[in-house]
Symmetry: C2
Subunit: 190 residues, 2 copies
DNA sequence: TTGCAACTATACAGACCGGTATGTATTATT
DNA sequence: AATAATACATACCGGTCTGTATAGTTGCAA
């Protein structure tokens, strides 16, 4: 499981933050769930805020790795990779543990623009967008930035939709839209 | 301004809930901002939860009215009305007060599935979706449900995107995608 | 065996929150 | 003038939150 206590605490907290919400999850709850004590938690994470940011950082890595791995596994050509991203998110949002996008949710919980959580959310968003833009460019899209932004919006929207109504097939419907947009963007480019 | 104290309190609370977040806005803050006292607030709203639900109900009405008004004003044909919805949301998300979708944000703050806030969010989502589906059907779309879901996802995604990065032109990019999807859905139906 | 570091156990401080109790001032109606 | 409705002022309660202080326990290594 967890190699050391620090990882174990982070893993426990991360799961609770994602499933119950960040503000709704108290430090005592985390400590009890992890089978440890507050003193140990505060040894590794000087404040709850630090723990929250560690959770977002961990989520960021996990998400990006999953996306990149899914892309490499299911496709070789740029165009197919773009569609593979939707397959990854479909698998992700089909899981019973799915509770929406951790970054969208966290950013909604910490509304102040100056909050570090906002920065973490924007950071993930930018990285993800960049991946899509590069693929769109490689695929030869007419306007890679616009296409990638559209695809990202479809994915965000589908996550929100799926969160609101489970088993709505939102991600597959989004993928169908993506296919149309990609084809259209490539057709005009040829 | 506000005809009576109850409306005034709700209006003040609504603005704070939307701009600062619901959990981040304490009752004392609302009372101070409204220039009244807790006793008066609790006379009209038996609990903060009631106030929150009233805020969502008010937001629901305001949003739907704005959408319907914008539709009637800018267009007469179903297809044009669908596009007019994006114009409404573009205007909405261009305002400096824009802080994302109040329902997406609220639902993220109250993560438990059984929470009434979740129901309120789903209720708006369903109503909005129904409006789009009817229009899509009237316009003669091949698959009205799928098309309307795609358009709704584009709008949700654009709101999230615009919230993350202001002035990103997300809603206009979403509208461009919508145009393609609508055209394609109608072309196949002819 | 001794010593040290990691971890546990528990209690508590201080702030904040939602909500209530008690009493007063203002205004309109009759 | 008496009454009732509305709103204000202020203090308080119980609970929860993050974060800390203090003391005890375990395990491992020299």
């Amino acid at each position: 499981m967890a190699r050391n206590l620090q990882d174990h605490i982070l893993q426990t907290a991360s799961a609770l933050f994602y499933s119950q919400g960040i503000k709704a999850t108290g430090v005592d709850t985390i400590v009890k769930a992890a089978g440890t004590t507050k003193m140990s938690l505060y040894k590794y994470f000087p404040s709850k805020d630090d723990l929250v940011l560690a959770h977002l950082s961990k989520s960021r890595e996990a998400m990006l790795n999953r996306i990149l791995a899914g892309m490499e596994q299911h496709a070789s050509e740029p165009k197919q990779k773009l569609l593979a991203v939707f397959a990854v998110f479909d698998e992700l949002s089909s899981s019973p543990e799915f509770r929406g996008c951790p970054f969208i949710n966290a950013a909604a919980e910490f509304a102040e623009a100056s909050n570090p959580v906002q920065l973490a959310a924007a950071e993930f968003s930018d990285t993800f967008q960049q991946i899509l833009t590069d693929l769109a460019r490689q695929a030869g899209a007419r306007n890679p930035e616009a296409l990638s932004q559209q695809l990202a919006m479809l994915i965000s929207g589908a996550m929100v939709s799926e969160q609101r109504r489970r088993e709505s097939g939102a991600m597959r419907t989004a993928a169908a839209a993506a296919k149309v947009l990609i084809e259209q963007s490539l057709a005009c480019a040829e």
